[in-house]
């Protein structure tokens, strides 16, 4: 790091990347909040979204916004199907059985995807003009700004959905106490489906943005950002929606700074180190409360 300008520049990169992590982390945290499952396949739903966006832009020639919407809708449906087919029958099984299933679904999407679209990377179309804005020596790319704004708008939308709509209230009730919610007349099945749908749609949006950010996609692209978004969710306190947003941004910025220091080969290790430290020091995350088993 040679100067303040460079530091700020890394911060800008970090925020763009972090907003993508945050979008994915929201899905992890919402699902965990309700069904107490680490949905390992979430990163791969993001991959599905990225491919749908790619399909929409290069084959259907959609502009950016309809393309991202298309990706979100397809991923939402995929999310509902995954939940109904693989997770719902295991709702009363041990958490470990559910976790193993989730890993299975993840591998199925990765390698099933490879069978369908091939293992090779695909170049993501450049949908934004190459305009750059320079403010005080810091470069803002037009694309970065659109990404950040898209992510923020989606997060705000989610916030309003969860706080003020009927389904949002049902989600919060189910997350607090699923049985009580059931007794109070909340349709838990619909609520869980809605949670998977919304989480998957956000992941798909993140997938499209990720494709644009890194210019390329492949069937295994979901693994690393998926794990990192999980780290972000844990960092913020898993099950807590604002926690996921903050966790994502913090992780994105941390990674950029590590890369900026010239240690980019250690970038992933730093993310996992954060994960382990958070789990050991404060497993409930930055915003969570500690709970322990009643004797």
């Amino acid at each position: 790091m040679h100067s303040i300008t460079e530091l700020l520049q890394q911060l800008v990169y970090g925020l763009s990347l972090g907003s993508i992590y945050a979008l994915i982390a929201l899905g992890y945290t919402m699902v965990y909040g309700i069904v107490k499952l680490i949905n390992f396949a979430h990163g791969d739903v993001m991959m599905v979204g990225a491919y749908m966006g790619w399909l929409a832009i290069t084959v259907f020639h959609f502009p950016f916004f309809p393309a991202i919407l298309f990706a979100m809708i397809v991923a939402a449906i995929a999310g509902i199907i995954i939940e109904r087919a693989a997770y719902k029958p295991l709702r009363n099984a041990t958490r470990i059985a559910a976790l193993i299933t989730a890993i299975g679904v993840s591998l199925f999407l990765e390698y099933g995807g490879m069978l369908v679209v091939g293992a090779q990377m695909r170049t993501y179309p450049n949908v934004f003009p190459e305009t750059m804005y320079k403010i005080g020596g810091i470069t803002f790319k037009f694309g970065d700004i659109v990404m950040l704004v898209t992510a923020l708008v989606l997060m705000l939308l989610l916030h309003f959905t969860v706080q003020y709509t009927k389904i949002g209230k049902a989600m919060r009730a189910s997350s607090f106490d699923m049985e009580a919610a059931l007794l109070m007349g909340v349709n838990v099945n619909t609520t869980i489906s809605a949670t998977f749908a919304i989480g998957s749609a956000l992941a798909a949006a993140a997938g499209v943005l990720y494709g644009i950010y890194f210019n390329s996609i492949d069937p295994l692209m979901g693994i690393t950002p998926g794990l990192k978004a999980f780290v972000a969710a844990v960092l913020g306190g898993i099950g807590i929606i604002p926690g996921a947003m903050v966790g994502g941004l913090v992780l994105g910025v941390t990674e950029s700074l590590v890369s900026g220091l010239g240690a980019s080969t250690w970038r992933d290790a730093v993310a996992f180190l954060i994960l382990i430290l958070v789990l050991i020091i404060k497993p409930s995350g930055l915003f969570g409360k500690n709970l322990r088993e009643k004797v």
Partner: protein, 316 residues
């Protein structure tokens, strides 16, 4: 009163079967009847049997869900490789060194992380496995991301007897008061603690012992495979070992052996079409969890008890 002794019909017969299996295969190898691909598959089965049995000790017996086993395998593979290549040490010493370094690593990471429960522990061990891989990628002494040349020092005899010794040690540990202490942690941690079991000690002990044998298996692997790379020991490898244990039945050692055998043969048979192989593995696992979550064997063991005198079983 029941008398326990090492000299009984069951043990004698087991030993006899083990020697027969070894001798038959050794004979087929020496006479060049067995094609090299089959020999290689058998040695891989041995390696994965050790890995699955050692992970079963952690996940199945002690109930601590670890999904970063490949990390310890990597440590063993690299350190055993270093002893073989850079110090020209004997193979036995190389395997022992790999196991010990992996055990030390297991102890150091186990102590703080084993306080975590269930899926939190799972995700922490996943992270640890990834960190180990990244460390080896960044260390030039170990060849970095490009990998390390080790050469072939392991043959069928080494792999087979290494496996048998590992299994005997794990079996003897599990079938003792110390193994029961581990099982009590799995069954009900609070009750175990209240009955005087130092649960932290037994979690760390099982984790360390599991890491040791993962290290030994890694050592056999690197000394057989000529060449190793950090990415060999990625999450997929950890997952593969996990599938073997779950398929066989968490908590069943014979189940782990069976799981390792089935998965390794399946992997070799489908090695030409890797993505289809992974899809089949994934589907197998999902179907397993949906319809038979306790695995092929449950927590039961296949054993030769039926050979013992009838009266012993009717005591109860």
């Amino acid at each position: 009163m029941k008398r326990v002794s090492i000299l009984n019909r069951k043990n004698a017969l087991t030993l006899f079967l083990v020697i027969v299996i070894y001798a038959v295969i050794q004979g087929l190898i020496v006479t060049d009847i067995l094609p090299p691909l089959y020999t290689s598959t058998l040695i891989q089965v041995c390696i994965y049997v050790i890995l699955a049995a050692s992970l079963n000790l952690i996940n199945g017996i002690t109930g601590q869900f670890s999904i970063g086993h490949a990390g310890f395998m990597a440590i063993g593979a690299y350190f055993a490789g270093i002893v073989s290549v850079k110090f020209h040490g004997p193979l036995f010493l190389a395997l022992l060194a790999g196991g010990i370094v992996a055990a030390v690593a297991g102890f150091i990471v186990g102590l703080p992380t084993l306080r975590l429960r269930g899926d939190y522990l799972a995700i922490a061990t996943l992270g640890l496995g990834q960190i180990v891989m990244i460390i080896f990628q960044n260390m030039d002494y170990f060849g970095g991301a490009a990998g390390m040349q080790v050469g072939r020092h392991v043959n069928w005899s080494w792999a087979f007897w290494g496996t048998i010794i590992s299994l005997v040690v794990i079996h003897n540990f599990v079938n003792s008061t110390h193994g029961r202490a581990c099982i009590s942690v799995r069954e009900n941690e609070i009750a175990a603690e209240a009955m005087g079991v130092n649960t932290t000690k037994y979690k760390v002990l099982a984790f360390t012992l599991g890491a040791f044998f993962a290290g030994v298996a890694g050592g056999i692997y690197s000394n057989y495979m000529y060449f190793i790379q950090p990415t060999t020991f990625n999450f997929l490898t950890s997952f593969n070992i996990l599938v073997m244990v779950v398929l066989g039945g968490l908590g069943s050692m014979t189940g782990s052996i069976l799981g390792a055998l089935i998965m390794t043969v399946l992997n070799v048979a489908l090695s030409g079409i890797p993505s289809l192989r992974m899809v089949i593995t994934a589907l197998l696992l999902i179907i397993m969890m949906l319809f038979r979550p306790s695995g092929l064997m449950g927590t039961k063991e296949f054993n030769l008890n039926f050979l013992e005198k009838k009266e012993e079983r009717t005591v109860a």
